[in-house]
Symmetry: C2
Subunit: 438 residues, 2 copies
């Protein structure tokens, strides 16, 4: 059978880049057998060619323009990250008509429509499976496997750093700061973890995933974001008593004609399959009108899992299937309209409230009156006996309520003389009806 | 933008066929928007055109040959099932150069290599996402998303009927017969459930999935099969006490140069994500050398979930991406060699044993001596006090042992005068190291 060689320029050679080099080298024969293609890494473009990168010979260069322009380079892989140099080089590659494989969710969340259009104008494509969910083939699932479905919701654990920290806090009763330190020591959190723990990384991924699921153009600013950096161990404990686990979820839901988009710590029922997703793993639940509930689970980050997605894209680009799908499908954000977004105040959700209340008569009556005035009805109350101190934690879960009403209630609760502000308020997501029953 | 029409002939119009008609009709606009293609069902080929099929007009015919030969038919969807008429019509379609979309795992498990080769010889393709895992895009994952991975193992719940029955037995302490009756009433089991409960349906799916994962040619006869029809509620109870759930698993593992392939009731640790897969849902765990553990979860059967996969294949065929991948990839069983199979006697597994033992001194000593002689070491023992009767259940779990040794031990245990034969022996699968920890 015919075999052919495909030339690759790799821009950036950090952790994931070395993973790509490793797969292309060690699985060269496997890839040849499966695809009939031999991949040749012709350039590895780095900032500092003198830096030690292991003992294997690499075709290192600092000359990105030369690598991109070389006619023997058929595909450009961008693994620099960020929106600066990476954006310029992706542009250069696309203008040269070269397909780009990238893991760069920041770049695509901020400049996706423009770059997709540039690819199209130059008769080429962008492949970005590695940008969301690491090695999980979720982009593929949304653009191919689930293409016959009107998607009703997408609910995901898409940030491995936060999930690692939350798993530590949940399973080992660790405090946030201690869990973060451990995540950093284990290589699951950056020295500056802000992008992850603030929820922004998850929001950038949600913008990409939801744009494909709902075929609308979205950006990070369309998404309501709360991180895990304010989360207290006490609330993980109380959630557990009530039968819930707290996860940082990225949620996109169709609500009538509008989309509700949000990233925040969320109480998930212990029976929900998302509750069992531990450590740095990611999982994305998708609800399709025909398929019902589907879940895609795997490593959301890390050298080889991310490289697995990059090389899968490389194979798809080299086979021609990815360019053909990119050319014909009309699901990409350069081809779709801006989505109508539901303001967070209008969100319907269930809530978890924790109040520090004075242990005296009538407090609960005051609290329930305020909630009742906002049309918020209670689902469960948890109050232990006062052990010491003046304040006792009162934990309340609610039925469905409007976010705006809950914010009004919180303002009033925080001014009650019997309550020590601020009240803690978290959202609960209900176990989907689809799950585990039939 | 260009739009085009693609003509479809649907062979068979049962539950899934009506689901395909429904999606093509109700999501016509969604599919047009996403793919630029309008699908026209030109023929629905049935055995009895007079049978009532709802109030919607259908282009019914009994003339399959005419439908297949009509130049306005671009794609043939086969949903007749079985290996008889379905096989003949798939052949006819392929000889006419028409791509075939099918959900027929029996046909592909028994005649796959021949039919794939026929498709190739006629410059066309077979798409079969719906044949395994219902609406879960697992064929896609194996042939695209995970293409850069050497697959080390594939472990799946791939039969919704069995999982529905086992979930009933586990969560409601139902007996096998009662759970089967309920599954039949709920439409999750056929009147004759043999193909499902015997494990054969799961084995046919495993043959297909493993042939793609490991790029070897496999048939049902390569797979060791035990069904759930002999499973006793008592063992589900004891497994639960020991921290396990019993699932019918389809398992394919690389063991040195050979593949171990088996379908049998299996003890899965409660922390394993597969343990939480309830009702008629399916889930497939795949272990790749780069990706690590990934799991694909969703509805493994049913009208719309299966139709979701059929229509996804239809879109892929119409876009040209599926034919292009079929033509270029070398992973399909017409292009691969027969796999080397590990005989079941050489399997290494952990085991669960339940013995009915006389409540008298020395019995456990006899049992442990027999196991010890076969180099089988114990992991846990569970024995409750005798409540009534002469025999007390003794439950033993073992460390890794050789299947052949275990079979030898069982023969001897069953001849002990202090043991009431037959001893129950089930296999345990260890929670993969990959899961949930980091």
């Amino acid at each position: 059978m015919n075999e052919r060689s495909v030339g690759v320029a790799l821009l950036g050679c950090g952790v994931v880049g070395m993973g790509v080099v490793s797969i292309l080298r060690h699985q060269r024969e496997l890839l040849r057998q499966r695809s009939g293609i031999v991949f040749d890494v012709r350039y590895v473009v780095v900032r500092d060619a003198g830096k030690h990168r292991g003992d294997l010979p690499l075709p290192l260069t600092t000359d990105a323009a030369k690598a991109i322009a070389d006619p023997s380079v058929d595909v450009v892989i961008e693994l620099i990250g960020g929106t600066g140099v990476a954006g310029q080089l992706v542009e250069q590659a696309l203008r040269a008509g070269k397909p780009v494989v990238t893991a760069n969710k920041s770049l695509l969340a901020s400049r996706g429509p423009e770059l997709f259009a540039l690819a199209r104008a130059n008769g080429t494509c962008i492949a970005f499976e590695a940008s969301c969910g690491g090695g999980i083939p979720i982009i593929d699932a949304l653009t191919r496997g689930l293409v016959a479905n009107r998607i009703d919701a997408l609910v995901g654990i898409v940030n491995g750093t936060c999930n690692f920290i939350l798993t530590k806090m949940t399973r080992e009763n660790a405090a946030y700061a201690a869990a973060l330190t451990e995540a950093q020591a284990a290589g699951f959190a950056e020295v500056d973890p802000t992008l992850d723990v603030s929820g922004r990384d998850a929001a950038q991924k949600l913008a990409l995933l939801a744009s494909l699921a709902f075929n609308v153009r979205l950006s990070e600013s369309d998404i309501y974001i709360e991180g895990i950096d304010k989360l207290q161990a006490a609330d993980i404990g109380f959630a557990g008593e009530l039968g819930y686990v707290i996860k940082l979820l990225a949620i996109a839901e169709r609500t009538g004609e509008r989309l509700a988009l949000r990233v925040h710590p969320t109480l998930v029922h212990k029976r929900d399959v998302l509750a069992e997703v531990g450590g740095s793993f990611n999982a994305i639940s998708v609800y399709g009108h025909a398929l019902g509930h589907a879940l895609f689970y795997g490593r959301g980050a890390g050298q080889l899992p991310t490289a697995s997605a990059v090389v899968a894209d490389l194979v798809g680009v080299a086979l021609g299937t990815t360019p053909l799908a990119f050319k014909q499908l009309r699901m990409f954000p350069d081809q779709t309209q801006k989505g109508a977004i539901l303001p967070i105040e209008q969100l319907q959700s269930r809530y978890y409230l924790r109040l520090s209340a004075k242990d005296e008569p009538g407090v609960l009556a005051q609290v329930t009156r305020i909630l009742g005035e906002q049309k918020i009805s209670l689902s469960a109350i948890l109050q232990h006996e006062l052990v010491n101190g003046q304040y006792v934690p009162v934990v309340i879960t609610t039925h469905l309520a409007r976010e705006g009403d809950m914010q009004n209630a919180l303002k009033q609760l925080n001014t009650l003389p019997t309550i020590q502000p601020p009240a803690v308020c978290l959202r609960i997501i209900d176990q989907p009806k689809e799950f585990g029953t039939a």
